[in-house]
């Protein structure tokens, strides 16, 4: 019977399905394709079933399907605990729920799933671009509630109603957002997925990469308090890779070591980094960070910033860096041994070249210069799409292909150094950054990822050498993307083609930066800051609690007042007011209405007065009596009362 009712009024089912499908769309690029496909299949099936007779699975079939789905999710994620796995499971379970969505309760469950998917989407990503989508999803769910609650409520009216209601709710949402006391720390954590995040990895194997990904995604933004560092100093330090096995540079297990003692000099740069989420634990800072910006983040022995967990949410921190530095202590022998190690029997021609150059040079410093000269004059080409290298890949690069990008040249240069017993290691990170004049910060993109070399020179310590800068000096100034436009994706190239578009993008990026810093990172400390700006000195959690209560009560009072508006302006009261005004005006002519007198008795009593008073008073009082005590005529009553009130207002006696 329910199914019959549904065929005549399928609106509730449509909207419930839409609320679920909207939630599904928020995750479409995060869950495995088969999850989306299965859910969409069930949605379509259900919509068809609302119109035609389609076989429906029984209880046993549904139970089996549920088990199958759970196992499939387990097989894919190896857990049900976790944002990605939980989302996939929720989507599939809700889609299965569609199979039995014949009752009102089942449709409400679908809307609940839509809201839960919205929550999961918020936990997953909080970018400015997605916020309108989330708002739309909330609207959709609320509309579905309205349609389900009253069958046959037209969709457009339900949309308007839900929209109006959400608009009323918006001020409260903003107030609570500002003043609801946030907690520091977590009660529990759910493992986060790593889908779709880019970033620097802990290892570098240039030979195996045929093509460098030139992602236009933002790695981080840096806002400087004082002047910017000059372009040639814009190296953003990431993982330091001292171990080389012939193919791959890696960090090795050196975290137990004490930090090398370095002395800093030159200007101190204080700046704020807003880091975009990545799948890695690295925090980036201008080379070289002098201290850890956060107690949980380690400044390692090699002056890398290592967080305890991957940066799964936008993160921002204040950092302090110096661009000039000197080692305070000599390199220990065993460290020197490690940092000059090379795999045996590989790259013989390169090793020979290194020994030859070193023999001709007077010092290690001169040798570095000679090696750089070799790269500068050897006909080397900077390319983001180099040929694949053979097994002796450094030999292959230096003597055959002579094309590569930063990873290739850094790797080759470090090998040359080590071959001549000069300690060297590869440092990865970012180089450069695009100035955003709107927001006043530097934007560093994934495409700015870079690799350079640090060489130990006696008296100076680890010294930065960038072989890529020698091969292609423009790389430092213009960045990889501008240098090699053909490496950009078509859409990126289009975006960078016109200055107008670039300006627009910079504005959009500044809005994003504001969003990330002011909205996404809004926390307890910011709340206290807001209170202090409102003039509350030494604000604490109690002040916040009071502010929260006051905000809530104010909003409730305004809401009650607004909602009562209709009742206040209800016709009977308007009528009573107009009558009171009429009586006041008549009383001023000398004869007040006695409490026992009704309107008609009063009119009779007024008869002795002046003709003008008598006539107008008599008419108006009779109209009032008719309106007040006469038979109700709902259609014209409101209009009549308004006319009566107007006439009373215009009445001039005397």
């Amino acid at each position: 019977m329910e199914a019959m009712a549904e065929r005549s009024q399928p609106a509730a089912l449509y909207w419930a399905t839409a609320a679920f499908a909207g939630g599904l769309l928020l995750h479409v690029d995060r869950v495995p394709v088969w999850v989306t496909a299965a859910a969409l299949l069930l949605v379509v099936w259900r919509l068809v079933a609302a119109h035609a007779r389609v076989p429906q699975p029984g209880r046993i079939a549904r139970t089996v399907l549920t088990a199958v789905v759970t196992i499939a999710v387990l097989a894919r994620f190896h857990t049900l605990n976790g944002l990605a796995a939980g989302t996939a499971l929720l989507i599939l379970m809700a889609a299965l729920k569609l199979l039995e969505s014949y009752r009102r309760r089942d449709r409400l469950v679908l809307v609940g799933a839509g809201l839960f998917l919205l929550l999961a989407a918020c936990l997953d990503r909080q970018s400015l671009a997605r916020a309108p989508l989330y708002l739309a999803q909330a609207w959709l769910c609320c509309t579905a509630l309205a349609v389900i609650a009253s069958d046959g409520f037209p969709g457009r009216a339900a949309l308007a109603l839900a929209g109006r209601t959400l608009l009323f709710a918006l001020p409260l949402a903003v107030l609570l957002f500002l003043f609801f006391p946030r907690l520091a720390g977590s009660f529990w954590t759910v493992p986060r997925g790593e889908e779709g995040l880019t970033g620097l990895s802990d290892t570098m194997s240039p030979g195996s990469i045929g093509k460098l990904t030139t992602s236009y995604d933002i790695a981080f933004r840096a806002r400087f308090e004082g002047p910017l560092p000059p372009p040639e100093q814009r190296y953003w330090r990431g993982p330091v890779l001292p171990q080389f096995d012939g193919f791959t540079w890696s960090r090795g297990a050196r975290d137990w070591r004490a930090r090398a003692a370095w002395e800093f000099a030159g200007p101190a740069y204080r700046y704020r980094i807003a880091l975009e989420p990545s799948r890695h634990r690295w925090w980036f800072a201008l080379d070289t960070p002098a201290q850890s910006p956060d107690p949980n983040v380690t400044l390692t022995h090699d002056y890398e910033l290592l967080a305890p967990r991957p940066v799964s949410d936008p993160t921002s921190y204040e950092a302090l860096s110096y661009t000039a530095r000197r080692a305070a202590a000599p390199l220990a022998d065993w460290e020197r041994l490690e940092d000059t190690a090379l795999p045996r029997g590989r790259n013989p021609r390169s090793l020979a070249l290194a020994r030859e150059l070193r023999a001709r040079a007077a010092s290690d410093t001169a040798f570095v210069t000679a090696a750089l000269d070799y790269l500068r004059s050897g006909g080397f080409v900077y390319s983001l799409e180099p040929e694949q290298l053979g097994s002796d890949e450094i030999d292959d690069l230096l003597f055959r292909t002579r094309t590569g990008f930063c990873g290739h040249y850094a790797s080759a240069f470090a090998v040359l150094m080590r071959a001549a017993d000069v300690p060297a290691r590869v440092v990865t990170g970012y180089q450069g950054g695009e100035w955003n004049p709107v927001g006043g910060y530097l934007v560093v993109r994934q495409a700015d990822a870079h690799a350079w070399v640090e060489v130990w020179l006696a008296g100076r310590g680890w010294t930065r050498v960038d072989p890529t800068a020698v091969v292609e000096p423009e790389r430092l100034v213009r960045g990889a993307l501008d240098l090699l436009p053909e490496a950009m994706s078509a859409s990126t190239r289009l975006l960078r083609a016109s200055p107008w578009l670039v300006g627009l993008l910079q504005r959009w990026d500044a809005a994003n930066a504001w969003w990330n810093e002011r909205v996404v990172k809004f926390d307890y400390a910011t709340q206290i800051d807001v209170l202090e700006r409102l003039g509350i000195r030494s604000a604490n959690v109690w002040a916040l609690g009071w502010a929260f209560m006051i905000a809530l009560l104010t909003w409730l009072a305004v809401l009650a007042w607004h909602m009562g508006g209709a009742a206040r302006s209800a016709r009977p009261e308007a009528l009573a007011r107009a009558y009171a005004m009429l009586c006041r005006k008549l009383a001023r002519t000398g004869r007040a209405r006695a409490p026992h007198q009704g309107p008609l008795a009063y009119a009779e009593a007024l008869r002795g007065g002046s003709p003008a008073v008598t006539e107008s008073a008599y008419t108006l009082l009779a109209v009032y009596a008719q309106l007040r005590y006469g038979a109700p005529e709902p259609a014209t009553r409101a209009h009549d009362i308004e006319a009566f009130a107007r006439a009373v207002r215009r009445l001039r006696l005397s």
Partner: protein
């Protein structure tokens, strides 16, 4: 299954509400202090979901999740106000209950009026245990709600209170009020029984009025309707100042039935009353004249809806003190 304790609690609650509000007099305009509001089951589920969202948002310090949690909190609060306002100020103009037969569907007819310039969709009414019957009230509009009534036994059914309620607009809250109006519904006996109708000609009973034999039998006067022959109009009565009346006759030789409670040989009184009710209903449907004799009451032969009602009411109230 309703345990006795719950039933007792309900009765106490009902008594308390009644003491608190007092008896109502029509028309009843629903005032603020008599409207009650609580979340529905969907509302409770929404609240649970909301709490989860809040915990998750706080736990992760996730600003966007918290924002949407707060937005939904505001949404629910506004929805509560809207729900309350949907019923506030609605006027119950009239309540009527036409007589009904036992074990057949009856109805309690309510008229609601919306005196505000805003629509009130989804206003519903119900009896204590009855189904909800809803209607949409247009701005300055009226709606008639017909609540189904069922009575197992004949007699007078007393309705002490009815409920006006609404879950508009989002079904998260239910606002309701009790209206304490005493409505008595007359329940005729269930017409049943297969005994043939005792038919006697009028002459046998000697009730034939004076007049020529074979002529039509004089039934009485009824108001004039368009199309009536002027010859049938009771001009004498009109001359005395009465309204236009028409003399009515039944065709000559039409049946005259007299149903006597005492003559029926059915041991069970209720069954006997049911049989009598059957005959009354059938006789009226057949256009016959019929009379009814009950212990302590006798209704002279007549016909017409009013007579039928008198007969059935007498049957309904047989044995009661009323």
């Amino acid at each position: 299954m309703r345990v006795p304790f719950a039933a007792a609690a309900r009765a106490r609650m009902a008594a308390w509400v009644r003491r608190r509000q007092g008896a109502d007099v029509l028309p009843v305009t629903l005032a603020r202090r008599r409207l009650y509001i609580l979340p529905t089951r969907a509302g409770l589920a929404f609240g649970g979901l909301w709490l989860l969202m809040l915990l998750a948002g706080l736990n992760y310090g996730n600003s966007l999740a918290l924002f949407f949690t707060f937005l939904l909190a505001g949404f629910a609060l506004v929805a509560m106000h809207q729900c309350h306002r949907n019923l506030l100020g609605t006027t119950l103009v009239s309540v009527s209950a036409p007589p009904m037969f036992a074990r057949r569907a009856g109805a309690l007819v309510l008229t609601l009026e919306n005196r505000s310039p805003e629509a009130r969709p989804g206003v519903a009414a119900s009896l204590d245990d009855g189904p909800l019957i809803g209607a949409d009230l247009a701005p300055h509009g009226r709606a008639v709600l017909t609540l189904p009534l069922a009575a197992a036994r004949r007699g007078l059914v007393r309705i002490d209170r009815l409920r006006l309620t609404s879950t508009h607009p989002f079904g998260l809250f239910r606002t309701w009020t009790w209206v304490h109006l005493t409505v008595e519904v007359l329940v005729y006996p269930h017409p049943a029984g297969r005994l043939p109708r005792p038919t006697t000609s009028g002459t046998q009973l000697g009730e034939r009025p004076h007049g020529s034999a074979g002529a039509d039998e004089w039934l009485g006067l009824r108001p004039f309707r368009d199309g009536d022959s002027p010859r049938q109009v009771a001009w004498k009565a009109y001359a005395r100042g009465a309204p236009l009346l028409v003399k009515e006759y039944s065709p000559a030789g039409s049946d005259l039935c007299l149903f006597d409670f005492a003559r029926l040989r059915i041991p069970d009184i209720e069954a006997r009353l049911s049989q009598l009710a059957r005959w009354v209903v059938d006789a009226e449907a057949g256009g016959e004249r019929y009379g009814l004799t009950l212990p302590g009451a006798a209704l002279a032969p007549n016909r017409g809806p009013e007579h039928r009602h008198h007969c059935l009411a007498a049957l309904a109230l047989h044995g009661s003190d009323g």
